[in-house]
């Protein structure tokens, strides 16, 4: 089998409720970068979890390459402040690593020197890099990222995606990521899969964003609800009649 993971007619349901995923066909090839997008509740995370065997399939089947090494970056960690957990100890969970290996892993993800920091005190960006370092520890053939940029601002998101690209260049693994942002995906994606209980459409980022199914699901842009605001002024001056939305501004300062 040449594919890393192949799902055929995959349906997944939680309890007696209507299935979250309906007859999804999905194939992931070695070295491929695939991003899954979809509205809330479209089954993005469920698809990833079913592909990894973390939730059982109700119908259809999922086959994974024999001995597939997966590096999984979870959506979030439950870190109680009463749990004293250093970064080094986190990397060692269920895995034997030497001090040198830990230092090397952290340097690869731009998190050097964080070994002794407590996990609960890390910033969002640092936490993502540490979780990525952990995922890289098993020399994965496939890196799986569930909404990795949640809670990161735009420069943080861009930096994290650049880091993923650099890591992929280095070890040539496949990357399967879920994006919570419908409009911003890794530009390096070979394929974007637009999901809404079933696969609406898939293709390169530009093909998907022009597909009628994608437009029907997400509309044209954000229909004015959000704006990409271009600042043509420096921030020393004040524009009381001209408020700008920092949540969506999209240029470099």
């Amino acid at each position: 089998m040449s594919a890393l993971i192949e799902a055929k007619g995959l349906s997944v349901a939680y309890g007696p409720a209507a299935p979250v995923l309906n007859h999804v066909n999905f194939t992931l090839h070695p070295g491929e970068i695939v991003t899954i997008v979809g509205p809330n509740g479209s089954g993005k995370s469920t698809l990833v979890r079913a592909l990894l065997g973390m939730v059982p399939a109700q119908q259809g089947n999922v086959s994974r390459a024999r001995g597939l090494r997966v590096g999984y970056v979870p959506q979030k960690l439950h870190l109680d402040p009463n749990l004293p957990l250093s970064v080094a100890r986190f990397l060692r969970l269920n895995r034997k690593l030497s001090g040198d290996e830990i230092a090397h892993l952290l340097s690869r993800t731009g998190a050097s020197g964080l070994e002794k920091r407590e996990m609960a005190t890390l910033s969002g960006g640092q936490l993502q890099r540490v979780m990525l370092a952990r995922a890289l520890a098993g020399d994965p053939q496939l890196l799986v990222l569930d909404e990795p940029t949640q809670g990161l601002d735009q420069p943080g998101t861009a930096a994290f995606y650049r880091l993923i690209e650099a890591v992929r260049q280095e070890i040539n693994c496949a990357v399967l990521s879920v994006s919570h942002d419908l409009h911003v995906v890794m530009s390096a994606s070979d394929r974007v899969v637009c999901l809404n209980g079933h696969v609406c459409c898939e293709g390169t980022p530009s093909v998907v964003s022009n597909a009628p199914e994608y437009r029907a699901l997400f509309g044209m842009g954000t229909q004015g609800a959000l704006a990409l605001y271009q600042h043509h002024h420096d921030h020393g001056t004040d524009h009381p009649d001209h408020p700008h939305d920092h949540e969506t501004c999209s240029h470099d300062h």
């Binding site: 979890r49 979870p74 960690l77 009463n82 749990l83 250093s86 986190f90 969970l93």
Partner: protein, 267 residues
């Protein structure tokens, strides 16, 4: 002072309860299960009543009831009931039901105070064996599943991706909790087992740098509290179980103060 056999037995019982409760208590703290521990402990009173009614060992009766209670709570939580409310209903109902059931026992009059607040000074040699088995059971479960329990505590998804089963780890914690309740019942009583689970780990947290260090620190704090509480009880004739918990609380306050002083100097 002459150390009598009953004092040694009390000390052994107290130290075993410390060993069983402290490492497990760390998970109770990390997973925010303090109320869950309380509900399981309160169910032990019902276990005592049932054990006396059906003439089985009190250790076995409390163990079975506490385990059943813990399973029941887990099942209800899985059905989407708000955990806080579920536990509030069950913890107090189990306690009240136990007290009512005990009142129906004819013949021997049962002194429930011993089970509510502990009666460590009357521990018999035969009881120590059951407690030792329970303590070994908890420690074996903790040592065997430590890494998996820790991973499942930090992220169930991460545990799943490593091929672990978080549900199984939860069941193991539940079983360990029931064992610890059965071991600690005679030491601090059903009403104060929750304190024995939570206070020593909270005290150890002030200085701990790693999960394992916190578990070890919690054992030391709990053992110290047992020795101090027993000493106070013998010297001043205070009730032993509550004295142990007061000693643990005193150590907690001392640790907080020491931690604040040390932190202040660093800054």
């Amino acid at each position: 002072m002459i150390i009598d056999a009953f004092v040694l037995r009390a000390l052994a019982a107290g130290l075993m309860a410390a060993l069983a409760a402290a490492p497990l208590g760390c998970f109770v703290v990390w997973r925010r299960m303090a109320y869950f521990g309380d509900a399981t402990a309160h169910a032990a009173i019902l276990g005592v009543a049932l054990a006396l009614g059906f003439d089985v060992s009190i250790f076995v009766g409390t163990l079975a009831t506490a385990f059943a209670m813990a399973l029941f709570v887990s099942a209800l939580a899985g059905r989407g009931w708000a955990m806080d409310t579920t536990l509030g209903v069950l913890a107090h109902s189990a306690l009240a039901l136990g007290l009512v059931a005990a009142s129906f026992l004819s013949g021997v009059r049962v002194d429930l105070t011993a089970f509510l607040f502990g009666d460590i000074l009357t521990v018999r040699g035969s009881e120590l064996w059951g407690m030792a088995a329970g303590t070994l059971g908890v420690l074996a479960l903790m040592a065997w599943r430590w890494e998996a329990l820790l991973t499942a505590t930090i992220s169930e998804d991460l545990a799943l991706s490593l091929g672990l089963k978080p549900e199984r780890e939860r069941l193991i914690l539940t079983l360990a909790l029931a064992l610890a309740v059965a071991v600690s019942l005679k030491v601090v009583g059903a009403l104060l087992i929750g304190a024995l689970l939570v206070v020593p780990p909270a005290t150890a947290r002030v200085f701990a740098k790693a999960p394992e260090g916190m578990a070890l620190g919690a054992v030391i704090v709990a053992a110290l509290a047992v020795v101090m509480g027993l000493g106070a009880s013998l010297n001043w004739d205070t009730p032993a179980g509550p004295s142990i918990v007061v000693a643990a609380a005193g150590l907690f306050v001392a640790a907080l103060a020491a931690g604040a002083l040390r932190g202040g100097r660093q800054r």
